[in-house]
Every structure is written in C-alpha cells, then in structure tokens.
C-alpha cells in the first residue's frame, strides 16, 4: 500500500513538473518547432542549425535582446504539432514562434497561432491557403510559397521551348500542388502526368513507361528518400543522360550527400544556392560548412534569413515585442540584407523574390553541389495573394 502510494506520488510530482509554467524572465523567448525526428528530421535539423547560426551572426542577440530558443519536435504528426504549439504558447509563454517543416502541420497549427495572436515566422512550409483566403497579418514567411519552386521550373521549361514534357510526383497534396504550380507557368499540354505511391521504393516500371513516351524533358517532385531512390534508378536505367531531368526538392542539401555524382546534371528550382556571390551568402556558407561540416541546404538558408529578419525588425522596435502592431510593421519592412539577394514581403506575409534554376555540379572544392544556371522568375509574387484580404 505504501509502495503504491509512493509510486503514485512520484508520478504526480513528475506530472506537475511537466505542466507548471516556466517563469517569465527578461529575455526574449522564441519557440522553434520543426520535424526533428523521423525520416524527415534532416530538414528540421537544417532549419534549426540555420536559425541558430543566424542568431550567432547577429551577435548572439536579436535586436540587441538576449534570446532563449525553445525547441519542439512535431514528429511529423499533426496532433503532436498542435500540442507542441500550444505548449509553447501556454506553458512556455513564448513571444514569437518560428519554423514548421511540413504543410499539413502548418495548416493544423495555423488556427492555434491565429487564436493566440502569435507572431509567426515560417521558415519552410508555405501552403497556398495561408497565402490566400486564410492569410493572417501575424504570419511571415522567409521561405517561399509552396508553388514557387515548381512555377520556376515550369517557366524554365517554357523558356527552353520543350514541347513534350512528362511529369511525375507522389500521390499526395504536396505532389499535386507542385504539379499544378508547374503547369501554371508551362501552358503546353503534358505528354504524361503520373502519380506514384508515397514512399514507393521502386520506380523502374514508371521509368520504362516514361521513356516509351519519348519526352524531351521530365519534371519530378520527389523529396527526401524518394528523391534519392528515383535519381539513382534513373541513372541506373541509363535515362539520366537521355532525358533532361527538371525537379523540385529532389536534389537539395538533404539528398545530395547520399547521391553525390549520381545526380550530376539534374536541374532544380528554388530561391537560393550555395554558390551565390553576395557577401551575406558567402559568409553563411563558409561558417556553416566550418561549424556543421556539411554544405548548407536551402532549408538552413531559409531559417538563417528568419533570424536575420527578426533581428532587423527587433532593432526597429528597440527589442520590444509588446506592441505587436509595431513589430508587424517592422517585419513587413524586411529591412535587411538577405542571402538570396532581393527579398521583399508581400501583403500576405509571403516573399517577393527571384527564383532560380540550379544544376547539380561540382563546386570549386570538388564537392557535389548546386550551380546557378538561370533566373526565369524575377521579383516573383505568389499566385494566391489576390485571394488574401490583407492590404
């Protein structure tokens, strides 16, 4: 009986420790939530590392304020994400929240964030509804609106004059969104539009089918492990040399280390590459490589800019966050030098930026990296801003 009571008491104490709020201090508390476990953890980790490096480069403070970053893991589970956001808001009582890797989690946490009137800096997922009908004056994104990365490839394909384009993507919301983004800027009808199973291990049948259609270019969206498998299988089927491969999120900082030379020649579209020659980017790449022993991915770059954006805004408000309207206005100005070059924030909180096309090639140190080859979309705004009621 005593044993049981002791056990229950021990349990209760632990419970209390979990739920009692931390005391407010004079520091600024920033909540960082991303996918830090599971197969996609490499993205969340990149976001975190990029964000922390951004804070370090701002002198270890943002806007002159000491920062405490509270890290949360959403495990790529929607309900865990909602719970983690609510923990940051209600228990840790943070002043700002940043991060979020995946669109489905982003959509889920949008409501608790909005209800709490919490200022949020997104550094990856940028779903369409949040750029359009569900836009919120508190949400700012230093990444992109999801469609932009495929829109640029569509424009590139149109500019190149490809007539027979074949498209492949996994059969889920993001896959479909990226294909429609591509089609928005590539008006010629496609010779093939194939959706494969999520996390399908073997694409050999689809590759054979694609080659039979004799396309003059192939566009795919295969993030993470799917990208590694697909590119490998394309190379092994001898298809990589024959058909130009245009892609989004397939050959990026998270997959290139696994692919290395296999991916040479693959084209991809996004807002930034490690070979950019502005001083902010060069410093970022050099220090990131020195500190984390890997070439930074775009995910790290996005989060790095989030830190820089916050720093610039907090400098304007004198480090204060209590006046939300002032902080919002300061964030809207985006008065800082971004590592991507041109960066403005649109009325819906999403970036207006140039989108580029990159080719996988060896850099000056002989490592496999991304090389800028074109800029099809300059100062590009997203397609949903007209549906947003904010001015």
């Amino acid at each position: 009986m005593i044993q049981r009571t002791l056990r229950l008491a021990g349990l209760a104490t632990a419970l209390a420790a979990l739920t009692i709020s931390t005391q407010a201090t004079a520091q600024l508390k920033i909540g960082f939530m991303a996918t830090m476990s599971g197969p996609a953890a490499t993205l969340g980790q990149d976001q975190y590392d990029g964000f922390m490096l951004g804070i370090e480069h701002s002198g270890g403070k943002l806007g002159g304020q000491q920062i405490t970053v509270i890290k949360e893991d959403d495990q790529l589970k929607v309900d865990v994400g909602v719970q983690a956001i609510q923990k940051l808001i209600e228990k840790d009582k943070v002043d700002l929240i940043t991060g979020v890797t995946f669109s489905n989690v982003m959509m889920a946490v949008a409501k608790p964030l909005a209800d709490a009137n919490m200022i949020f800096i997104g550094s990856n997922a940028g779903p369409g509804p949040l750029a359009g009908p569900q836009c919120n004056q508190n949400f700012f994104f230093t990444s992109w609106q999801n469609d932009a990365q495929s829109e640029v490839m569509g424009k590139f394909a149109a500019d190149k004059g490809y007539k027979r384009v074949y498209v492949m993507a996994p059969n889920y919301q993001a896959g479909k969104d990226f294909v429609s983004g591509f089609k928005r800027f590539y008006p010629t009808p496609l010779v093939g539009e194939v959706y494969t199973q999520l996390n399908q291990p073997d694409y050999s049948a689809e590759i054979v089918q694609m080659m039979a259609a004799k396309p003059d270019a192939l566009y795919v969206f295969y993030p993470g492990g799917m990208g590694v498998a697909f590119v490998r299988q394309m190379r092994q089927a001898g298809a990589l040399g024959k058909v130009p491969l245009l892609s989004t999120s397939t050959t990026d900082g998270s997959t290139l280390p696994a692919l290395k030379e296999t991916a040479l020649g693959v084209l991809s579209g996004t807002f930034w590459g490690p070979d950019f020659d502005n001083p902010v980017s060069q410093k970022f790449v050099a220090d990131f490589r020195a500190k984390y022993k890997r070439i930074p991915s775009q995910y790290a770059a996005q989060a790095y800019d989030a830190a820089l954006l916050l720093d610039s805004a907090l400098k304007k408000t004198g480090g204060k966050v209590a006046d939300k309207a002032a902080l919002r206005a300061a964030l809207r100005q985006a008065d800082f030098k971004s590592l991507r070059g041109d960066f403005k924030i649109n009325t819906n909180g999403f970036p207006i930026q140039s989108m580029h096309v990159f080719e996988v090639a060896k850099d000056s140190t002989g490592e496999v990296s991304l090389k800028t080859i074109a800029t099809p979309l300059k100062a590009h705004a997203d397609a949903y801003v007209s549906q947003c009621s904010l001015k």
Partner: protein, 313 residues
C-alpha cells in the same frame, strides 16, 4: 482507479491554479487516446481481435465534425450522431468480412481496410486531402460551444461512462461468451453458441468508442486530417492497450497515459527519447506480464485469468 479518474477531472482546477491552459491540452489529448485504447481493448483484450485498423474509426469521428462543420451542420449532437451511425455502417460489414479470418490474416485485413479509407480521405481534396482541414466552428453545444473546459470535462465523463460500460459488459453473459471465444472459438461453437455475432458486436462497439474519441480529438485540436487514420496510430493504440495490460478494463487507460506522458517527459530531456522509450517498452513486456496497471493496482482488484492477452489462435 477512482483516484486516477478523479485526478483527471481535477485538471481544469489545476490549470486555473497554475494559470495555464496547457495541462488541459496535454491531458485532453491523452484522454482521447485513452478512450480509443479502451475501446480497442474490448476487441483486443477481451475478444482476441487484433485490429490494426482502429485508428480509421477515430478518423471517422473526427471527420464527422470536420465535414459536418464544412457543410453547415454544426450541431454537436447531430455531428456525434453522424459519427456513430457512419461508424456502425462501416464497421459492421468490415468486421463481418474480417472476422472470417483469424490470426495474422485478421490483422492484415484490418490494416488493408484502414489503408483503403486512408487513401480515400487523402484524395478528398474538397476536405483538405492530406493537408487536413481546419475546423473553424466547433461542434455547437449551445453556450458551451468551443469552451475548452467543457469539452475536456465531457471527455472525462465519456471516459468514465465507457469504463463503467465496458466493465459491466465484460462481466455480463455477453462478455463471458466473448472472452470464451478468445480462448477457443471452436469450443464455443461446439456448445451451440454462434461466436460470430458476439465478436462482431464487440468489434462494432469498440469502433464506436474510437469514433467518440475522434469526435473529441477534432474539437480539441480544431483540426482533422487523414493522419488521424494512419495505421501507425492504430499500432500505437495497440501498444497503449498492451502496455497498460490488456486483460483489464482500466489497463489501456493507464497504458495511454503512461506512454504519452513518458514521451512528453522524455522529450523534455533529450531529442533521442526513442533510445530510452524503446528499451522501457521491451522491459515492461518482459517483466511486467500484467502490464503497468497490473503493477499499480491492488492484487485483489485484478479479474481472474492470467497473462496479458490470453492465448491467440
């Protein structure tokens, strides 16, 4: 057990005391899974039906709220009815088909059905697809609409009712036949009692409880997505039920609470929480044959019957 249930009911008070809504959120989610695990265990622990598809019913309950709300049917009562009726309409035929098999085949068939519905809901673009759907207006219950404390307390009430209901069922004639089928279906049929109706009814009831859990989950998170139906979630429910002790009524509740609190606590410690949780689970299986609740509860309270799960065909 009464102590623990009372503690759940007192969480809102605790929230008021520490001036934070977070414990409500945390325990709300825990209790949702406790209710679902409880429901699953009626089929699993007392009926020997290992279903890897029960998360699908949680999804049904949640989508009843989501789709109802999107289509203008906001009444809380109607949404709950929709959840219950839809679940019954689907669980009955599915259960009937699945119960024609046993052992690993049953597990795989339930998994297959869950994947089927998961794929269906992912392709429902108008309701968000796999990005899910934010529920702007929660189930309408008059002046209590959207009141987190009210939602939480009704969840506690639902849980208590469910525990009481299952306890009564398990001891009733229905329950005795059900538990007999777990030991040997052949013998039950041999004495002239058809085993299928009993198992099917148990399956449907357990599905209904999961649907109710889903109903609350949607209201607590203001969100619904096909992720609520993923087979991995079904797996976690089974883990919760087994961890707590699937031979008892209250075991799954303890299992859910323990697993989720452990996760929460370990996460605060280290990002590598799985390194600790994994071995803990293995140790519990190896050494605590009665599950966690078996460890915590009074020996005299345990029902008759031995290991945590009975023998399976």
């Amino acid at each position: 057990m009464v102590l623990i249930l009372a503690a759940f009911a007192l969480v809102p008070l605790y929230c008021w005391w520490v001036d934070s809504v977070y414990p409500l959120t945390l325990f709300g989610r825990i209790l949702v899974f406790a209710l679902a695990a409880l429901g699953l265990n009626l089929a699993l622990g007392f009926g020997g039906m290992v279903s890897l598809g029960h998360a699908m019913y949680i999804g049904f309950g949640a989508y009843a709220v989501g789709i109802g709300s999107a289509l203008g049917m906001e009444s809380g009562v109607l949404q709950l009815l929709l959840a219950l009726i839809a679940t019954a309409l689907i669980a009955a035929p599915l259960g009937w088909i699945a119960l024609r098999t046993q052992g690993i085949a049953f597990i795989m068939i339930t998994l297959a059905f869950a994947q089927l519905f998961y794929d269906v809901f992912i392709s429902l673009r108008m309701f968000g697809g796999d990005d899910g759907m934010t529920i702007q207006k929660l189930s309408a219950w008059g002046p209590l609409t959207g009141n987190k404390v009210a939602i939480y307390l009704s969840l506690v009430a639902a849980l208590v009712l469910a525990i009481w209901g299952i306890a009564r069922t398990v001891q009733s004639r229905f329950g005795l036949v059900l538990r007999a089928t777990m030991v040997s279906e052949r013998r039950v049929n041999a004495v002239g009692t058809p085993s299928l109706p009993y198992r099917l009814v148990a399956y449907v009831i357990s599905a209904e409880l999961c649907a109710v859990a889903g109903y609350f989950l949607a209201n607590l998170t203001s969100f619904v997505s096909p992720a609520y139906m993923a087979w991995t979630l079904s797996g976690e429910l089974i883990v919760m039920a087994l961890l707590g002790g699937s031979a008892t009524v209250f075991g799954p509740v303890v299992g859910a609470v323990a697993l989720l609190l452990l996760e929460e606590g370990l996460k605060a410690f280290t990002e590598r929480w799985a390194l600790i949780l994994g071995p803990i689970i293995v140790l519990i299986v190896v050494f605590l044959r009665q599950g966690l609740w078996g460890l915590l509860s009074d020996p005299s309270e345990k029902p008759s019957g031995g290991s945590s799960g009975g023998s399976h065909g």
